[in-house]
Amino acid sequence: MMTSLAKSRIRYNKSRTVLTAIAIILTTTLLMALGTSAIGLLNFNKMQAAETSNLHGSFGQLTEDQVNKLKNHADIESLEINEIFATVEHGKMNGFLTYKENVKEGITYGVGEITEGSYPKKINEICGPASFFRQLGAKADIGSKVKIDFRVQGEGVIQTREFTISGLVSERDISKLNISETRLSYGANISEELVNELLPKGDRVYNASVRVFGEHDLNYDEICQKINDVAADIGCKEINVSLNKEYLSTVTDPGMETIKIVSAIAFVIAVFSGMVIYSIYYVGIITDVQEIGKLKALGASKKHIKRLLFREGMFVSVLSVPIGLILGYLIPYFIMPVVLKKGLETSLINMDFKRPDMFSLPVLLAVAAVVLLTVYISLLKPMRMAAKISPIEAMRYQESSKEKKLRTGNISISLFRLSKANLTRNKKRTIVTMVTMALSCVLFMSVAGLLNSMRTEDIADRNMEGSDFRISLDYALDDEQYPENNLENINKNNPFSHQFLEQIKNIDGVENIRKVHQVPASSDYPSEMFAEGRKITISEFTREKADEYRKDMEKGEIKYDEMVSQNGAVFTSDVFWDDYNIKLNEDMNLTVYDGDRKIPLTVKVQASVNDGGASILMVPEGVYDSLELRNDSTTDIFIDVDKDKYDDIKSQIQEMIDSQDKFELYSRDEEISIGDMSVSMIKYPMYVILLMIAVIGFMNLINTMITSIITRKQELGMLQAIGLSDRQLTRMLAGEGMVFTAGTLLASMTLGNIFGYLIFLWGKNSHFMSVTEYHYPVWETVALAVLLIVGQMAITFFIGRRMRKESLIDRIRNGE
């Protein structure tokens, strides 16, 4: 009985049914799409991680003895030994020659696998990617000859040798990337014979790539521990162990991090749509009070009424959930490959795209369960409310404030006052609708604040310190064979000459040039930084920069004036604080190299930050100036230009740089394009989720508007009979809708922006997608306002039109 009544009520309250159905479908779609995408992304990451390389970790700086221990270690499943044998000396090319030996098979790489020919066996054979040979001006064919200048282990004299290409290996397709040569590196393999000939056995330094047993049985921490244990067994220092975290985390862990994030988003979506569904039923109950009262008068019990509403909700769900599940699976099924493919094209990963497996039965069942549960929970209160209605009260019930008898009112009444009176009559309904609407918009604005601050421009800004170009000096610190490459010697005749700077200044559109100074220094301070006489550089910072440091400070404190008087310094690599044995306020005796002069300088590290300057030690300008350097110590210049002339200036600077092989050029557009893809891959899917949330919220507004108009059909008809014109009617309804819109907008602008800023701060602190600067989401705000206003007006227009189709007479008579 209740079942058939529920069915007929579903048909009778068609608009409510449709709205509830849409809300449920959207919720299901959203949750399913989220789950499906997450599964797809996880599987894709696994595929991708394996494509890059399946090695578990690598050990560096190994001796032959350690390598032999490793070969016999019981935990090693696969092992590959390689050593960087020499650096290639060819203009600005970052090239190196390596020797590789596969000891235990099993390690694969996405690139660098032989595609043609074979690995080098003879002393003058070489194999590598085609681009390596092309960079050297040779033909990339098997059997071709190539002459290479190189320095064994990056030291010693430059040697020249002619090689024969024995094989070609696969490589990344970087042709689509707009990145300077200096940002890329190229490697090629040579034979063991060559290594043996040129490098004494004792001088050889090995790296080992390993896979340990138990990839499928261990969790992430366990497998990391196992690798570190192996390293400890052979006496490899922890600092020289590098774990292939990307691969390990994807193979060992079912994506806990992803699962956490996805569950959090899913929870928010479920709570939110629950509120909308609740609000639709709640508003429905208010209008159905009389009908429910009649049912009760006819003998329906509380249980009956509850069951009636419950069945109504479940019928709609049973029809809507499958539609949502199908949509939620199909949308990512078709869209995600497109996005991922695009991502692959612009990233540095070379792999053929394969559609990841995206279907997961547990996800499907979980989504269905969550949605049904959400509908059930949101029905609880309306069910209880309906059950409580007493038949007498219900049939007399009018939608007005029950206790109020008098109303002060006004002498004259206008359209505006009429709308206001109606809204205050349904205070509860008005508030419930406004709260849900506001919630979706607040959510939108909050996340928009973060998304809008996620800008590659900011990342570029940080790298480029706000400028458009940066020209950096390519220098060495400890080159014993070619001391002319060392910074103190380059400084004797610094290429950033007055003439060079003038030339740049004279390019049309160049607005400002800023110089960075660095000077080499050594110390007997007991730290890895200065081990074996190694040098570092020190640089200067301004009072303004000190303020910036203060914001991101990790340790110590910065008092600029005190630092100037006490020779204070800022350590800019906080992550290495312990490794480098740095102590706060301890004297560090430095020797500064100014050309051939040696200047003693004692500094105290007074603060530590992450990522904050040209050098690892920064001293205040005053301290730097007190060194009274005789040579120009400029190492970088930052150039600001007129944006309209950017491209022109870039090509001119590029030309100037090409003739000077000590310069490297960094430009803003390249920095931006490096980060662009990763940002948009997060940003746009998030916006899609937000948009769908906004649509669900909108269902709620539509429902409230429809209910408020349908229930007043007769009243509105009567108003028309006594002279309310169509235009006035539309204006009145639009005015009522505007109140919702205005309230919602107000909440979004205030709460939404506050939350938005808080979320941004969280994102900044947790280094989420490199957000650093808050950008107020202007366009998002405008779009939201326009969407709300236009959408609400459209709803009013359509409902008004539908109502007018019914003749005035019928409407007035409706209640008689």
Partner: protein, 222 residues
């Protein structure tokens, strides 16, 4: 006396072919300024349809309605709405008050919709005449049926229309209250010089009128 309301061959048909219903069929009536006319007929005789067309609520299939010397045929919906709030006062069987407005606000509503200033003394006088002077701030749901219908009458009179059209104004009231309301309606229409057209099937009310039009199957028979 001037003719305030006139119909010329007024017809309203519904459906077509075999299902054609002639709700109003070639009705020609004239109503004088200040007259009290009742339209009497059985349920379904077409009297309400006729009243709706007289009040510019509904458009005829053919024929014309002349209101104060003007043919309202071809007027736009908005123009008709304006005529309704200036020239005509409606009273329905269901009291049709706006529940969120108090008695006073309900009464001055048509004036407000027209953007005119409220003649406070005039409205006070009407409320006093109709015995509602103590109820101005009450909300409709606190009033009895008779009081609600008297409020509806006050609303019909307040905008100073030329004609008051009432569709079974006492239909929802008990006979004693109905008589009282009817007497008040007649009295105030006279007092403020308004033409009164009342639809009824109540013989007693018909007796009170200056003239009675009897309608049967959409045709005026007397």
């Amino acid at each position: 006396m001037d003719i305030i309301l006139e119909t010329k061959d007024l017809c309203k048909y519904y459906g077509e072919g075999e299902n054609l219903v002639k709700a109003v069929d070639k009705v020609n009536i004239q109503i004088q300024q200040g007259e009290f006319v009742t339209i009497v007929g059985k349920s379904g005789s077409g009297k309400s349809t006729l009243l709706h067309m007289l009040g510019a609520l509904d458009r005829p299939t053919s024929g014309q309605v002349w209101l104060a010397g003007k043919n309202i045929e071809g007027f736009s919906e908005d123009a008709l709405a304006k005529i309704r709030r200036r020239k005509i006062g409606f009273i329905f069987q269901a009291f049709n008050l706006v529940p969120s407005l108090n008695v006073w606000e309900n009464v001055v509503l048509p004036i407000g919709l027209d953007g005119r200033a409220v003649d406070v003394d005039f409205v006070k006088d009407i409320l006093k005449t109709l015995g509602l002077d103590g109820k101005a701030r009450n909300l409709p749901n606190t009033l009895s049926g008779g009081q609600q219908q008297r409020t509806a009458i006050a609303r019909a009179i307040a905008a100073k229309p030329s004609i008051i059209l009432a569709d079974e104004p006492t239909g929802n009231l008990d006979s004693k209250t109905g008589d009282e309301v009817m007497a008040l309606l007649k009295f105030s229409a006279k007092k403020y010089g308004q033409t009164l057209v009342v639809i009824t099937h109540d013989e007693d009310i018909a007796q009170m009128a200056d003239r009675t039009i009897i309608i049967e199957d959409g045709k005026v028979v007397k």
